[in-house]
Every structure is written in C-alpha cells, then in structure tokens.
C-alpha cells in the first residue's frame, strides 16, 4: 500500500498517477478519437514546377480504447500523415478529424498527447520548468509534486532540475513522453517513441502505453519496431509509397487464410519417436490427414497457420524501399 500524495489516502499497489486531480475535460465520448479520410499531401518544389505526392488518399480511424499501429518503410509517409493530423501540414485534399473537430481546434488539442520523432526542446530549461510552462499553456494546475510524480513515472527521477542541454537522446524522449502524458490525454499520437532506446527503456515505454490504454485512452503508434507493434497493438495500418496497403486487426493480419499446420509424431511409442509438422492448404487438408493416419503417424495438432508481422510487412511493402 502507498499514500496518495494529493489526498493522503492509502491506495493499493505502487503510487498511482493522480488522474483524479485533473478536472473532467468533457470529451465527446461518442466521436471517433481520430478519423482520417482520403488524406492526400502533395509537396510542390521549385516554385511549383515539380511536385511530390507524399501521401495518397489514405483513410483509417483510431477507435476508442485501442492501440493502432502505423507501419511503413522509410519515406512511406508516416510522419507526413501525423503532421497533417496535428495541423502542422495542411493537406492537399481529404481531411483529418479529432473527435469530429479540425486539428487546429485548441480545445481538442489540449486533450492530445504527442510524442514526436527525435524530439528537441529549448535546452536552457529543466524538465520541471517545461512541465510547469506546458501546464500553464494547457490550462492545467501547476503543481510541482505532480510534475515530479510524472517525471518519476517516465524514469527521470533525480533529473527534474537539470537543464535539458545535458540530456541524452533517450532522456529527451522520456521528457517528451512526460509532456504527452501531462494532460491525461484521451488520444496519444506517438511517432517512433522508442527509436534509439535500450531494451529496458523500450519495455518501460510499452508498459506505460498499455497502462494508458487500460485507462481508456486511444493510442496511435507509428513505429519501425515490428516486434513492439506485434506485442501491444490491437490493429495495424501498413503504408507503402504513400498509400495504405493493408489494414486490420493483428489476428487477421497474421493469420494465413486457408492454410493449416498439422503436427504429428513419427514412430509413436518407439525409440525413434520424432515430432514433425507439415503445412497444407485447406483443399488438401482432409487428404493429408487420411494419408498420415494410413502411414501410422499420430496427429497431435491441427492449427491455422500464422505469419509474423515482419512477413506481413515485407509482403505488403514489396520487400522494402520507396
């Protein structure tokens, strides 16, 4: 048991983050947290003589309480999509909506947590100063104890008052996670949040993401680390050359339709007993089972075949680069 620093009451488990201290934001719970519809972005260069289509008519949505993985090779348009969602880039056509509102709306952006790729901050300030300034700008209570709790949660305990100029890349990413968590967001948009972090740090980030999902937040996670996406995401969207190539729940994406894996034992109850497996398509399943039995092999399991996310990714993106 531990003591809640805000009220002095005892709470179960480790010190929980005091979400209840923040006022209710009145989020419209019926609207989809993030909805992207036919989003296209064309960059014009050389005074409009040439152009480059970074994303082309992509559509997807992030549902309430889910973690959506956003995958794609380098240059696929992931960061461009995220910047269009946040209003940093204006789309050429299509739209992105946060709870049905435009990205420029400050009232919805204050309910958002954003972890940028390769984040940087003015290095003359300390993390607690940053949290204090962001609290003011977000119209949140400026409570130093809360800031310290938050920094402790992301693994920056003891670094609260140290100037950011002496922070490593990983520490800046932790700070950006703290800033993203500060408003108790209903939607988190994370662009490669664990890139460059060591395995321990990545696990800490994953745990925090899962805690936020369990709290009811929706997470939009862009990442290159397929194992990470496979571990924590509910659904995934794969982008290649600016277009969406596939979307679905991870179960659906990883399952190989119409393909089965039969596990059997050769030489049942003999000294030469061995386990083997064979993959067959649905049309040959019954024939294969009959043949194995006729040969005296003992069948111990029949399952639908699954691929890894890497297989799905490479297959969807044509094996690589734009």
């Amino acid at each position: 048991m531990s003591e809640d620093p805000a009220t002095g009451e005892e709470v179960a488990g480790d010190a929980v983050f005091p979400y209840f201290l923040y006022k209710s934001k009145g989020t419209d719970m019926t609207e989809t947290p993030l909805s992207v519809s036919e989003l296209t972005k064309v960059f014009r260069k050389s005074f409009g003589i040439s152009s480059f289509k970074a994303i082309d008519s992509i559509s997807f949505e992030v549902r309430k309480g889910e973690i959506l993985g956003f995958l794609g090779p380098n240059g696929a348009g992931k960061t461009t999509t995220i910047k269009c969602i946040l209003g940093l880039l204006s789309p050429t056509s299509g739209k992105a909506r946060l709870w049905g509102s435009r990205p420029a709306s400050l009232s919805v952006r204050r309910r958002l947590g954003y972890v940028p790729e390769n984040p940087d901050y003015e290095d003359a300030f300390s993390p607690v100063e940053f949290l204090s300034m962001f609290a003011h700008m977000r119209k949140l209570p400026d409570d130093r104890k809360m800031h310290e709790l938050l920094l402790d949660r992301v693994g920056l305990k003891g670094w609260e008052s140290v100037r950011i100029r002496s922070f490593s890349k990983g520490m800046r990413q932790r700070l950006s996670l703290a800033l993203a968590l500060q408003p108790v967001p209903d939607l988190m948009i994370m662009d490669e949040p664990t890139g460059g972090l060591d395995p321990n740090a990545r696990k800490e980030f994953r745990d925090i993401i899962l805690e936020e999902r369990d709290r009811g937040a929706s997470i939009f996670l862009s990442s290159h680390l397929l194992s990470e996406v496979e571990t924590i995401c509910d659904r995934a969207v794969i982008l290649a050359k600016g277009k969406k190539v596939t979307e679905g729940s991870l179960d659906d994406l990883l399952r190989v339709e119409e393909h089965y894996r039969i596990e059997y034992i050769d030489g049942w109850k003999t000294p030469e007993e061995t386990r083997n497996a064979i993959s067959v398509d649905a049309g040959n399943l019954q024939n294969t089972i009959d043949a194995l039995r006729n040969e005296g092999r003992r069948i111990i399991g029949i399952d639908q075949e699954h691929r890894t996310l890497e297989d799905v990714f490479l297959s969807a993106t044509g094996g690589g680069r734009r």
Binding site: G87, S90, P91, K95, R102, P103, A104
Partner: protein, 157 residues
Amino acid sequence: MRSALFHARLVIIPIPMIFLLFSLFSTGCMDRIDYDVDEVASQEHLRGSNLTVDQETADTPADLDTLLTNESGRYDETFLCISAETPVETAGEESIESESTLHVHDVGQRNHGTEWFFNQPWAAPFIWPKMIRDTVILIVLAAAVLTLSGILGRKRG
C-alpha cells in the same frame, strides 16, 4: 441558426472593413497623401514669415508655440537662419562673435537653413490628421488580413 450566423460573420465582417478602407482612400487626400511638407503644406506655410528672435529667447530652450506664433497669434515660423559656411553655433554666441552669420529672412522668403528642421511631422500640425487617418487604415487592414487568413486557414484544414 447559430451555425448560419457563425458562417455569415466570415462574410459580414470583411465587407464593412473594405467599405471603410475604400471610403478613407476616396476622401480626396490621395492627391497628396504623404508627409512631405512640400506637397501638403499650405501656401502660408511654404511662404514662411520672419520673426525677430530676442537674444533671451534664443539662449533658452524655446517653446514651440512661442516660436511658431507671431504677435497676432497666427501660425508662423521663426527661422533664425545660420549661414551654411559657418559652423554650428548658438544664437547667443553668434551675436557676440559675428553679426554677418546671423540674418533674418524677409516676409515671403523661405528659409534655407532650417526648413529641414521644421519640415517634420511634429512641427506641422496639419499633418497630424493624416497620421490619425493612416492609423485607422492600418487597424482596418490588420483586422481584414487576420479575418481573411483565418477564413483561408479553415478552408485548408
């Protein structure tokens, strides 16, 4: 209804701004619309007039009104003209050292030494309404630019 009014304001607000701007520009001051005294000053101002400056007033910091009004109270310039060949000196010192460097212009003759000094907005009250006019124009323009950029921003988003 509220939605219609919300969208209507994007059209309603710029229209009177543009009208106000147009009416300001068409007030007839487009002919001479800057602060060049040569262009906008009245003939009386351009002709100038002479006014003798006492030694005492020349030595002490001069009040604008005192210098610019003559005995009859009319708007006037006082030009204590110093010849271009002489170095910058005060009036008091000139009167002691050299009478030839100090002279006063006749009525109707423009002073050549100090017109630059008095051809500034602070000394020409007839320019002040133009400053007010320009201030209003700038405020209207700023509001129009803000509104239009907001409208375009919404269309993009």
